[in-house]
Symmetry: C2
Subunit: 442 residues, 2 copies
């Protein structure tokens, strides 16, 4: 095919970015296309990633990178006849099981939710690992089956297939070992390329902020949120980013089966307040973006209604059954696997809980076997942490703060000590913290 102008060579393109120049969409497509086909070597892509890390990218470049990565594999085509497709994505936190309750609730409200989730790595858990604690539940599905299930049930909960944005998969693996993870344009393209390949119309992003999150400061989180919203708009999608705190774990559980159980409680009106509130905030925005409600109030009322009338729980049973799982867990949570032993962690002084260091709590659960430090590691779905006391609770010395759910008692003393140290107990009651820090729509 004849080209308008000869493209610079790959080293020349890397040098342009190195010198802080903006690459054109054609140049970026050429690079990602070459990378996907193996013509641009890993060592060239990692040098480019470092240049992008240090020189950044304009919104137009980031959008071009996102679209090129989206187009490196299959782009799911969903029938436009049945309404808008809206997904939610979280940048990852400790105890973040929102997807598991949010998806069936908003699907029961009529939003079409083609949800592609990830696995846990490091101190943050992954929705896929949590879902797999349901016996028989499969997160592996062909694109055709995925489309069919979203069509029939309005929702499917799956993992990234090899056909979806393969360039992102390879680039992420490279970034992970070359010190180029924390780059706003690269994070933006990584998140959005996969989501856009799902065929969504709109996306709600839960950008976590704080010591247990990827973004430690509100400023950094806002910058990422703005980049995601801006690039989403350039890709002609409605994107809202909601910034939520991740100083302490979300909810009262950490660990796969424990978190799944807690998320299922939300479907029938139970569960912890913070988890329910964040589910409602994110869900209301999804419903709004789907065009099913004009404002947050009516959207929240719809969600409350499907919880009250059992439609949310019914939707979850349908989804679990469709994906090969034991749908009875929704009503009989004891069917989830449980750890044989519990270790109590008791308060060493009296006062009020001001917080539980999310990163430390996540690392403690990881150490118990709830997570993995390498992608090929096995996890134990049963183990984890139940937080009996959370921020705002008054405690007396000797009160049980939390319980470790473990495979065996032996060797758990360091974990108990670490979790105790993660508890911040002070003499006076803490102030109430907002559960939403900012909402960014443009």
């Amino acid at each position: 095919m004849a080209k308008a102008a000869p493209l610079p060579t790959v080293p020349e393109l890397i040098a342009l970015k190195r010198d802080g120049k903006a690459l054109t969409a054609t140049q970026i497509e050429h690079l990602i296309d070459g990378f996907t086909r193996g013509e641009v070597a890993d060592y060239q892509m990692s040098a480019l990633a470092m240049a992008i890390y240090l020189r950044s990218m304009t919104p137009a470049e980031t959008a071009a990178l996102t679209l090129a990565m989206r187009d490196s594999g299959d782009v799911v085509k969903l029938s436009q006849a049945r309404g808008r497709y809206v997904d939610k994505h979280s940048t990852g936190g400790v105890g973040d099981k929102v997807s598991i309750c949010l998806a069936p609730i908003v699907a029961a409200c009529g939003v079409r939710v083609p949800m592609v989730s990830g696995r846990g790595l490091g101190h943050t858990g992954g929705t896929l690992d949590k879902l797999e604690s349901i016996e028989g539940f499969s997160v592996d599905m062909s694109v055709a089956d995925f489309v069919a299930q979203v069509d029939s049930l309005g929702c499917a909960l799956i993992g990234q297939t090899a056909d979806i944005a393969p360039a992102d998969k390879r680039l992420y693996a490279l970034r992970d070992v070359t010190g180029t993870v924390e780059s706003i344009p690269l994070i933006t393209a990584s998140i959005l390329s996969k989501k856009l390949a799902e065929g969504i119309d709109a996306l709600v992003l839960d950008v976590k902020v704080g010591r247990g999150a990827f973004m430690k400061s509100l400023d950094d989180a806002r910058e990422l949120a703005r980049s995601l919203v801006r690039v989403g708009k350039l890709a002609k999608k409605k994107v809202t980013a909601i910034l939520t705190p991740m100083e302490s774990p979300l909810g009262r559980t950490i660990g796969n089966a424990l978190e799944t159980r807690e998320a299922l409680e939300i479907l029938t009106g139970g569960g912890p307040r913070d988890l329910r509130e964040i589910t409602f905030v994110l869900g209301a925005e999804m419903i709004r973006l789907a065009g099913l409600a004009k404002a947050e109030g009516p959207a929240r009322a719809m969600m409350a209604s499907v919880i009250d009338n059992g439609a949310a729980a019914r939707k979850m049973r349908e989804i679990i059954a469709a994906q090969g799982g034991d749908a009875r867990v929704v009503d009989e949570p004891d069917r989830l696997p449980t750890a044989p032993t519990r270790v109590k962690v008791k308060a060493d002084r009296a006062g009020f809980v001001h917080g539980i260091h999310a990163l430390e709590a996540g690392m403690t659960a990881l150490g118990l076997g709830a997570g993995r430090t390498r992608a090929d590691q096995a996890i134990d779905p049963r183990v984890g942490i139940v937080l009996h006391k959370i921020r705002g609770d008054r405690v007396a010395e000797g009160d049980v703060l939390a319980e470790l759910h473990v495979a065996e008692r032996k060797g758990t003393a360091p974990a108990a000590k670490r979790l105790l140290a993660a508890y911040e107990i002070k003499p006076r009651a803490p102030k109430l913290q907002p559960l939403v820090l900012d909402t960014i729509r443009r």
Copy 2:
């Protein structure tokens, strides 16, 4: 072996440099050692190279990198009984055949010259390719034979063996395709690691400046020169950098056999003025650093003497014979291969030659087959350019400016046109240009 403190992981080390932090010598050794042993992947090293390119390195870091790369292979041990070992290195120019006359002249003066040279790539030629135009001459030698020849003759002229600084060889290949060549710390480490591995005591660097050189501006060249001298000193070697112009080709010839012939002329008192002068400037500094003369004047007198009394030519005959070549070329230059055909390039107007664009002239010779654009390309030793008119010469319209030495006349019109365009002819005579722009010793 027990370590004082655990080292950061490779991605963490890359991130430190990415964030502009200085790496410790131990950290740099760990990275280069891992790279040499294949534990640090190419894609990690290229990301690090980009971080170094954009964040630079302190002199201490650059010295540590240089020493780590030197120690990635064999370090030649030369007997200290017979005097100091001094080498010369040029950053590369068009028509730069200085090594071929310089080495035997200073060796005849008593300097011990363990010279390891490179091949040509792109528009600049390589000493090895030039030497190989002498029939039978071999630049491949084991380290043991190299040491023995330097010991017996005071000089050997060889190519980089696989055992000398292998980390540099691999890193350079990566830099070449990842836009990370033009980095002062990386260039410094690349040049000095190889030279230090030769076992030298002192080094004279010919840092070329101008449109035919790697460094286009005097400021950039000075920065590189200062880095080389500083790091040389940190490695406890005497290093002098001499900045010389590379606006027009050096001497009157470009092409392998043609340049060898011109360099051999210097040995017997002939040859072009600029080539002779630069040889004397660099050689006098080598003699000074070897401790054989206290100042430039006496050192130049020594050089003039070995040319006059035939000792320089005799030394070259000995070296050629020792390395399997036909030593008769020194006295019978017609034994060098010659091109079957010549194409005259005539002046299209009258005036004075103000210069010949070195890069354009080099590219013209490359196009004739005198050089290579890829490392695996074959070259034709016979072809090249003889410049009959050089800077300062008065020309009439129709005068022969230059001759292309070619394999066949066919298809040479574009080369002739390109060389003519490289000639800058103006109405008035140009001012005299200095042959040395600066000398940096600290």
